[in-house]
């Protein structure tokens, strides 16, 4: 049983601003049915001010609570003010969320971002990639801490990282990102003999068909190899998880990490 704050309980039992807005000025979405949570956010905007907000959520108690409180937080705010709301602020406003449920606040933030992007036609500013960047939102673990676990504690696998930092122990969405860091920082024990271009294409195809594809199929998705040029690999990600914004990055990371691990360190994956 999760330890939900009274505020979380109040917001999932009596959610505020449920429903849709006819002729909404902006609609934002995050998540997907296959992933187990989806949020649709409707905004009414006048003179750059959010006049009304409504939501519909498919998800657990904390997902509904995060959506509900988000609507309360943004009504009356200017677009610029709304853009600055972080997932941590959403969680704070609910008097905290269990670590396993922090991704619900991330989903709220993503839906808001999506709605504002659809309204202003501008990409919201992405957090610059740096070492203090949060990799695991559930346990608030930064890239720095993961690198430290590799260099100082001898972590070599995703499980090792989880045991040392707790990263990835809750929702698991950061697994791909962590494996990417591992592939960059964990020294390979043996040097692989270089493959000729034909061997490489065959091996990439093999890994995709026999290892990556079955993994994705478990989540109702799939992958198709489109083209290989040197170390550049083009793939098409299919199925429901590929439409889930939250999962998209980790999905591409997962494919790249596996190919790097099993074929060549230099491989870069592109999505069609």
């Amino acid at each position: 049983m999760w330890e939900y704050s009274d505020k979380v309980k109040d917001h999932f039992k009596n959610p505020r601003n449920v429903g849709s807005i006819e002729n909404a000025d902006a609609i934002g979405e995050a998540g997907a049915l296959s992933c187990g949570d989806k949020l649709k956010l409707y905004l009414k905007i006048e003179n750059n001010i959010i006049k009304d907000a409504k939501f519909q959520t498919f998800g657990c108690g904390s997902a509904v609570a995060a959506s509900s409180i988000l609507t309360e937080m943004i009504i009356g705010k200017t677009i610029d003010e709304a853009k600055k709301i972080t997932n941590k602020q959403i969680a704070q406003e609910l008097d905290g969320l269990p670590p396993e449920k922090m991704h619900c606040s991330v989903m709220g933030r993503e839906a808001l971002e999506d709605a504002l992007k659809n309204y202003t036609h501008e990409e919201t500013q992405k957090e610059e990639e740096n070492s203090s960047q949060t990799v695991c939102h559930c346990y608030d673990v930064t890239k720095d801490e993961i690198i430290k676990a590799i260099k100082e504690n001898g972590a070599k696998t995703f499980d090792d990282i989880s045991k040392i930092t707790s990263a990835g122990l809750a929702c698991g969405r950061c697994k791909g990102a962590i494996e990417n860091i591992i592939s960059q920082y964990v020294k390979k024990e043996e040097k692989k003999t270089p493959l000729n271009p034909i061997q490489k294409i065959i091996k990439i195809n093999d890994v995709i068909q026999n290892i990556i594809s079955p993994e994705l199929q478990k989540d109702f998705g799939d992958i198709e190899l489109i083209n290989v040029d040197g170390n550049n690999v083009w793939v098409k990600l299919k199925g429901h998880c590929s439409t889930c914004g939250n999962a998209k990055l980790t999905l591409k990371n997962f494919v790249e990490t596996k190919l790097k691990e099993l074929v060549d360190d230099e491989i870069v994956v592109f999505e069609e």
Binding site: L33, C35, T57, F58, C60, G172
Partner: protein, 398 residues
């Protein structure tokens, strides 16, 4: 507030009669059963009486075939790792199980696979029934162990382990057969002496004994390496001072469970069916996940489309109705139930799957109350869902 406990596959209420039998062994009957004085002999005798009751409950040939353990997980680990340690060789290193096992079987298999053993996982069809032909076709001279659950904890599907054990031995007489009987014990009859099952595990708290005690049946003549090495207890097969009061409790619970089998398969089954049919006929987005031809009498698993399971449980909790869900959110991971995924439950209802499991304590009033309230909760939650178009198609009158 009412408290309606419909999560008996998670754990059960301890029967008062079980507790009464246990109590003396917390008090004056505390002597170590391995010691050499009269009170110790009393403890040892109580353990042997319990062993006879468990043997009788499972239809073992003799009480000597029963080993007491701390839980179902220990029993499964003892059987799986014990067989591998004793019988596997670099040649004979193939192990088989199913995709729908409990983690106490899947995790040891993954552990062994990492160590280099070849593990095969057999799937199920859309009704959750085992692909028997495939299973039997995978058995070779290299196969050391096959593990199959008797009944599934999430869907209640029952697997024909009695016949399967015979078919497996026809293909390789040296292959050991382990059956996880944790969810079957007390719900459906088993007569182990008429089967070729080598190992069978049970857990006390699933049939009204307390948590912390289980047993492993080992058919006579089967060798395995113990999981716990130490003293000479349990015929050198499970070291550690015997937990007299809990073992006595398991014995009493086994005796009672045997007597209640008929009630389980008539009255409990009737109430389960009433709940299941009631929900399916009144809730338009309800889909049955427990579709196997053979099922235990107390379990039904129903998926509610476009609504997430944890949210349903939280709302039911407020009404005093306690059930469980295979949704990802309740497990704290991104992965919903591996059992429902193995039977290809569509993801429209996968994340909203709720398991209701009854017991001999469940009453008609409780089922009526559940039936009165569950449709209301679902209707309320459907209004929050972003899949209004799909739901309107299912609820045309709203």
């Amino acid at each position: 507030m009412k408290k309606i406990y419909l999560d008996n596959n998670a754990t059960t209420k301890v029967d008062e009669k079980v507790l009464d039998e246990m109590m003396p062994y917390f008090k004056e009957g505390y002597a170590n059963p391995s010691s050499m004085y009269d009170p110790a002999r009393e403890s040892a005798k109580a353990i042997e009486t319990a062993r006879e009751k468990v043997a009788d409950f499972l239809g073992a040939k003799s009480p000597g075939e029963i080993i007491f353990t701390s839980c179902g997980t220990e029993s499964a680990n003892t059987a799986i790792k014990g067989v591998i340690e004793k019988h596997a060789t670099s040649e004979n290193n193939h192990i088989i199980t199913t995709q729908i096992e409990h983690p106490c079987v899947l995790a040891p298999y993954e552990f062994l696979a990492k160590k280099g053993y070849e593990a095969t996982y057999i799937g199920v069809n859309e009704n959750g029934e085992l692909n028997i032909e495939t299973l039997l076709s995978k058995i070779s001279q290299k196969t050391v162990l096959v593990s199959i659950m008797h009944a599934n904890n999430e869907t209640g599907a029952v697997y024909p382990v009695e016949e399967l054990s015979k078919e497996i031995k026809k293909r390789n007489k040296n292959t050991k057969v382990f059956v996880d009987g944790v969810q079957a014990a007390g719900k459906i009859p088993i007569n182990l002496k008429d089967t070729e099952i080598d190992f069978y595990s049970i857990s006390g708290h699933k049939f009204h004994a307390p948590k912390g005690v289980g047993a492993l049946y080992v058919k006579k003549g089967n060798l395995f390496e113990p999981l716990l090495h130490g003293g000479h207890q349990e015929n050198l097969l499970r070291a550690g001072t015997q937990n007299t009061p809990y073992i006595v409790g398991l014995g009493k619970a086994s005796e009672l469970a045997k007597n209640y089998l008929e009630y389980e398969n008539t009255e409990v089954k009737r109430l389960m069916k009433k709940l299941e049919n009631g929900i399916l006929s009144t809730v338009k987005n309800a889909k049955l996940n427990s579709k196997s031809q053979k099922r235990v009498p107390n379990t039904t698993n129903i998926g509610f489309e476009y609504i997430e399971g944890e949210l349903i449980l939280l709302y039911l909790n407020d009404l005093g109705i306690y059930a469980s869900s295979g949704s990802a959110c309740t497990s704290g991971s991104l992965d919903p139930s591996h059992v429902l995924r193995a039977q290809k439950t569509p993801f429209t209802s996968l994340h909203g799957s709720i398991r209701f499991s009854l017991s001999r304590y469940t009453t008609e009033d409780e089922i009526d109350y559940a039936l009165e309230n569950i449709p209301k909760v679902i209707e309320k939650l459907a209004k929050i869902s972003p899949f209004q178009k799909e739901l309107t198609a299912l609820f045309p009158n709203n």
